[in-house]
């Protein structure tokens, strides 16, 4: 049964950092607008999260894995509205959450900004493409975003231009941080406590972090900022209507104008939602999937998929460290090797990120061999005595790395989706260099031993670049306002837009970008 809904001004597809941020800003600027947000998943309550349950460790690597593929295979999958993704030809496997709040439900909330140079890689280094605006154009939105989300950290980081605005005190760096700092100090390398979207003091009705550890399983005390606990409540108060379990099937067009979206509601009924403007924020896989299924956006849709390939070293220490305590992705970082230095053998750079340990059961899976007396001895030696140094590298845009549709129809009514992705030679050299530096760091810190993972496939959190913005119609999908070149009343508002990706987590930039794009639409309509 098909029903036509009342026309609205704007329909926003997706309620993660991009979609919720867009709803927030547009409804704040123009509260009389009729805005509907369509979310394929549902709200999540703290009671549904596993961290208060005895089997939380089991859930972390099965039903509550960050991998939609792992969740779909689990006996008790988490309530994420997942769809199958063929990642057999992808060197990095995608991670995401599909529900109200999007992937912020499971993110680590590490909240760095891009560097100014990340916006001008072609001009500065002759690679990638420049963003159609600069860091300093985005800076006011970074600041506003920090304020809405709530950020802890320490002012004065020499890796960045001075950041304005309030910061809560930084997260504890713990014993593991102290161990890593010994190495950084000995080598004279940059380090700094991370910016994190985590309350270190109670703020805006949300608690302070109690260092429980597994941020990827949702935050029952709401210390970790998520889009459903920050942007969305404000947007809903301003009159935005959120429809959950609404799976958009197609953006309907007439010529070069979109007229609305066809979606399947929670009862399985087909609906048509007319709208003047359609905003797509379904992440770097969901967004190109919908654009491709709708036949809009042009030849570049889905191309230039970027992930930030990651390697890491587990440090095994003589002294007791913190064990699986503290927000897992957030301790401290180094941008010593972030900017281009061609003597290193590659262009652009990387981040070293010192992160905390996983729960006991997850740590047991690191043993080699996996079981038996040796494995037991290894786990007993390593538990409470380990931490990690991640090497997060910058991907450059390459058209052959892409999201495409398959010939099959998925259960959600949309065509199946496939990833094709290889780590480039430049990024591989960067990874090799970064792993050597991480090892040098740990040797300087005096750790007992380490275990290297030169490329960690299961780290594909950052789904970027597949509907890239730019000024050249042939090499981009949208203009600087996020509007599709082919269909200008369709706006993309998520990480798909990134022409290049730097070497830092993208959440902060996705949020800032969404605020900027919404502001620009508001200016146009004001």
């Amino acid at each position: 049964m098909s029903s036509v809904q009342e026309p609205v001004d704007v329909v926003v597809i997706g309620s993660g950092m991009g979609g919720a941020g867009f709803c927030y800003q547009l409804s704040a600027r123009l509260p009389d607008l009729r805005i509907v947000c369509l979310e394929r998943g549902d709200w999540l309550t703290p009671k549904q999260m596993p961290t208060t349950q005895p089997d939380f460790m089991r859930q972390a690597i099965s039903g509550w894995s960050s991998s939609p593929a792992a969740r779909q295979m689990a006996a008790a999958p988490a309530p994420s509205a997942d769809y199958p993704i063929d990642d057999a030809d992808s060197a990095v496997k995608p991670l995401m959450w599909n529900g109200v709040g999007g992937s912020t439900i499971q993110w680590a909330a590490h909240f760095p900004r891009l560097h100014p140079s990340d916006f001008k890689t072609q001009s500065l280094d002759g690679v990638g493409d420049d963003w159609p605006f600069s860091y300093f154009d985005l800076e006011p939105y970074y600041d506003r975003n920090d304020d809405i989300i709530g950020v802890c950290g320490l002012a004065g980081d020499p890796a960045y231009p001075p950041k304005k605005g309030f910061r809560m005190p930084p997260l504890p760096i713990g014993r593991m941080g102290e161990t890593a700092v010994r190495g950084f100090t000995k080598l004279g390398w940059h380090w700094w406590p991370v910016d994190a979207a985590i309350n270190t003091v109670a703020r805006n009705g949300r608690s302070a972090c109690n260092h429980c550890g597994p941020c990827q399983q949702g935050c029952t005390i709401q210390a970790k900022a998520t889009a459903d606990q920050t942007y969305l409540p404000h947007a809903l108060k301003k009159g935005v209507e959120l429809r959950t379990n609404a799976i958009v099937q197609k953006i309907v067009t007439e010529g070069s104008r979109a007229t609305g979206v066809r979606y399947r509601d929670g009862n399985g009924d087909d609906c048509f939602q007319p709208a003047k403007v359609i905003v797509v924020a379904g992440n770097g896989i969901g967004t190109p999937r919908l654009l491709l299924a709708s036949g809009i956006g042009g030849e570049m849709v889905g191309r230039c998929l970027m992930f930030h390939p990651v390697g890491y070293i587990r440090a095994i220490c003589h002294d007791k460290q913190d064990g699986p305590a503290g927000p897992i992705g957030n301790c401290l970082y180094s941008h010593e090797f972030y900017e281009t230095d061609l003597s290193r053998g590659f262009v652009r750079g990387l981040q070293l990120q010192v992160t905390r340990e996983n729960p006991l059961l997850t740590q047991s899976t690191y043993a080699a061999p996996r079981w038996g007396r040796t494995a037991q001895m290894q786990l007993r030696d390593e538990f409470h005595h380990s931490f990690r140094v991640l090497v997060m590298t910058e991907d450059l845009p390459e058209a052959h790395n892409r999201v495409t549709l398959t010939d099959e129809l998925a259960d959600d009514g949309l065509p199946g989706v496939k990833l094709s992705y290889q780590v480039s030679e430049n990024t591989q050299r960067m990874l090799t260099f970064g792993m050597e530096r991480a090892q040098e760091l740990l040797e300087a810190a005096g750790v007992k031993g380490f275990v290297r993972t030169d490329l960690a496939p299961g780290t594909g959190w950052h789904l970027l670049g597949t509907a890239r913005m730019g000024v050249d119609v042939k090499s981009s999908v949208t203009n600087e306002n996020g509007r599709l070149h082919t269909t200008p009343n369709v706006i993309v508002a998520d990480g798909s837009l990134f022409p290049t990706v730097g070497a830092v987590n993208p959440g902060s930039t996705i949020g800032a970008l969404a605020l900027k794009l919404a502001d620009e639409l508001a200016e146009e309509w004001a």
Binding site: P50, P54, S117, P172, F184, S364, R380
Partner: protein
């Protein structure tokens, strides 16, 4: 129906107990914390029970019977399990996952590893706050490095 002694022998080969050392605590064997009994229950109710049964039957076949496997020393049992792990890797991994999860979720095991045997919430874990005294040391160590970002 498999004998509980056989299941004990299987889970204790996967996760044997360790005696205490001067610096390390003792670890209980899997059967000491009820893992074999839980595995027996999984064979009746778990979604993957057919996989588990297939692995266990393969172990019996390789060993020449349940009793023979039970009578083997740890080295011989390990060799049998390694053979089955190679021939039935996915099913073996599924069995290992439930056995390992049941073991590491056990209160006694978590205590043995020196960790609080309750979920992380609502109590969380104490960590000392960031030492602001470190700031001076930090800034001093970075003198001469400013700025690390390029103007663009």
């Amino acid at each position: 129906m498999m004998q509980i002694e056989f299941l004990h022998a299987v889970v204790d080969t996967l996760l044997p107990g360790l005696p205490a050392t001067e610096t390390k605590p003792a670890l209980p064997a899997a059967s000491e914390v009820g893992v074999a009994a839980k595995l027996a229950a999984h064979l009746e109710t778990h979604r993957d029970k057919r996989l588990f049964v297939a692995v266990l039957e393969a172990i019996v076949g390789e060993a020449g019977g349940e009793a023979r496997f039970v009578a083997m020393d740890e080295g011989a049992r390990t060799a049998v399990l390694q053979t089955i792990e190679q021939s039935q890797s996915d099913a073996f991994a599924a069995l290992l996952f439930v056995v390992s999860a049941d073991y590491h979720e056990s209160e006694a095991v978590m205590r043995a590893f020196g960790w609080r045997p309750t979920p992380p919430q609502p109590l969380g874990y104490p960590l000392p706050p960031f030492d602001e005294g470190k700031l001076e040391e930090l800034v001093a160590s970075l003198e001469g490095k400013r700025p690390l970002w390029r103007a663009a």
